[in-house]
């Protein structure tokens, strides 16, 4: 009997017996539970074979984070994060699967570069200016219970404030620090010179905000109230008010993306008063 033929027979017998149909190759042996992704740098996940499909989506384009997941080769998955404006890493559950098993990998996208302001464009053609806006400045009923006429005084600019306001539509307060980082950028806002807006370096922080400054310079108005009378007093303030819309143009040097943010600048300044009744004023 040929010894060689028997050895071959034995090996063939074993090979035909092997139960290869019940075994599958693990497509992700030793796959880490978490993969860190840096903005701007492709991250490649290697698999042991091509028996897998991507269960998650391929493109994620949110306002504060943007990344793509692409099967770049039968055994490779490439993640590219172009932008992550969060201050903390952004976690995303990536899922891959085959006919028998689903695997989850946590993608941890590290924060990337913030935006910077390139320019601010004001819509001068559609601005608004009013010089004689009247608004209440205070008042009260003054009663003289004495037997002689009495002199009272009132500070007409007691409640007068210069107000500057930046407002934005459809943006929350925490949007700006996320997009631009801290400290927030300053934008130049107009000043009114003889009723005309002028840009000459006065700036405000790019944030929905209201800046107020009291204009009470101690001006006092004295008036007389006869004995036993009650005098109703009203003070009106003359204000100048100005509104102008603007657009902030910003860009991200890391991702190359650009954004525009629309807002409005509002300005109001009381500059004079009207005391009523004027005939009660003591010059």
């Amino acid at each position: 009997m040929n010894k060689g033929r028997f050895y071959l027979f034995a090996c063939w017998l074993l090979l035909t017996a092997c139960n290869s149909g019940i075994f599958i190759e693990e497509f992700a042996p030793g796959m880490p539970a978490e993969v860190t992704v840096q903005c701007g740098k492709p991250t490649v996940i290697h698999f042991a074979n091509d028996d897998w499909e991507l269960r998650s989506g391929t493109r994620y384009d949110y306002d504060l984070v943007k990344f793509t997941i692409e099967r770049t080769a039968p055994t490779e998955l490439t993640i590219l994060a172009t932008e992550c404006l969060y201050d903390e890493p952004y976690d995303f559950q990536l899922e891959v699967e085959n006919a028998y098993v689903t695997k989850s990998i946590n993608l941890r996208i590290e924060p990337g570069a913030k935006y910077q302001v390139d320019s601010v464009a004001y819509d001068w053609g559609n601005d608004y200016y009013e010089s004689d806006k009247i608004m209440p400045g205070g008042g009260a009923n003054y009663t003289n219970q004495g037997r002689e006429p009495a002199v009272f005084g009132i500070y007409p600019f007691h409640s007068a404030e210069l107000i500057e306001q930046l407002s934005f539509s459809d943006t929350s307060l925490d949007y700006f620090p996320l997009v631009f980082g801290n400290p927030l950028p300053q934008i130049v806002v107009p000043e009114l010179v003889d009723g005309e807006p002028v840009l000459r370096g006065h700036s405000m922080t790019l944030l929905p905000s209201t800046f107020t400054r009291s204009l009470d310079d101690g001006t006092i108005v004295r008036f007389k109230v006869e004995a036993g009378e009650t005098l109703p007093v009203k003070v009106w303030l003359y204000c100048e008010e100005y509104h102008v819309s603007f657009t902030v143009y910003a860009s991200n040097t890391q991702s190359g993306s650009k954004r525009t943010i629309s807002g409005e600048y509002r300005y109001r300044r009381p500059y004079d008063y009207l005391f009523i009744p004027q005939n009660a004023i003591i010059p």
Binding site: M1, K3, F6, Y7, A10, C11, L13, L14, L15, T16, A17, C18, N19, G21, I22, F23, I24, E25, E26, Y100, V101
Partner: protein
Amino acid sequence: MRPLYIIYIALATLLSVGNLATLRAAEPDSTRQKLIHRVGIDLFPGYVLPTHDFFEGTNRQGEPINTTMSAHLKWAFQFAPDSYFGRNYPHASQGIGLAYNSFFNQQEIGSPVALYVFQTSRIASLSERLSLDYEWNFGASFGWKPYDEFTNDYNNIVGSKTNAYINLGLMLNYRLTPDWSLTLGAGFTHFSNGNTSYPNAGVNTVGGRIGVVRTFGAGQWTPRRYAPDPFTRHISYDLVLYGAVRKRAYIPSDPSLGVLLPGHFGVLGLNFNPMYNVSRYFRAGLSLDAQYDESANLSGHVVNPGASAEELKFYRPPFREQFAVGLSVRAEIVMPIFAINIGVGRNIICKGKDTDHFYQILALKTHLTKGLFLHVGYQLYKFKDPNNLMLGIGYRFHSKR
């Protein structure tokens, strides 16, 4: 049992009986027949051991299955007394047998027919005509009615139409005349498929045996004993390479969810067994046993637990969990052409509960040449639970027989 294994066993039988008998029978004197032929008929009435409730009455008939009867037709040959085997093994004869077995339950068990090789020899001479002999049978049995969930659902004993057949018996041999003998004795019979199919609980019987043997050609020999050849004690080295297939069940933490995995798994092994030849009948030694079992330690690598048997998938376990190396103590009874090897061992290099255990081996070696032999064996654990077959080929180095 897979058809390929039947071919293997049949080939072993025919080659061994034909090949080595021819080689060893060639002696200088050509005036007399080289072989003495025998034809025999045996009847084996027996008792089926109630190792499972199927035999105790949980079957379609609702009656215990405890009796069996088999009829055997055998042809054997004995080497001429002046030949090598005739001088050194004067009472050994070996041959082929055909048996018809009945368990009196045709519908659920069937009436399998067994084809086997056998060998018989004398243990002790009790008188001039009476001797105490032993006989072993090994082969395959065909025609079983296996388990079927629809048509044969009570029979969770036999999982295949073909099963191995093993018998060991002791008998009194009374020579009526030089040509005719009567035999009377008892024996134990085992049927199973070596875990190549499930279920495989095994069928075991004990019983008596009665037979008659007609010898042809014994008269030409003068009744004198030829002196055996001198025997030198020595160490020989057996190297065996074997393979097999087996089934495996997957038993999760909840045993009620256990399933039989589809398909068959491969087993491949190597034994290196130096043995001290104590006498021409016996040798013993240690064996280094290495085995790879494709089905070992799967339970820790399930892909989709809870799936059905057909959909269950596994990751291939590390090689370390499917390969084991053990040491066993072996004893071998040596006769013409055949040797029976028995071993008890323990895996030493192993990982996982499927390989971390003791094991037992029962093997039949069939010599094709002085060094080359076929190996048909069975690995068990707990002395009763089958692990896998061991079908292969071996070579003996440094034999001084």
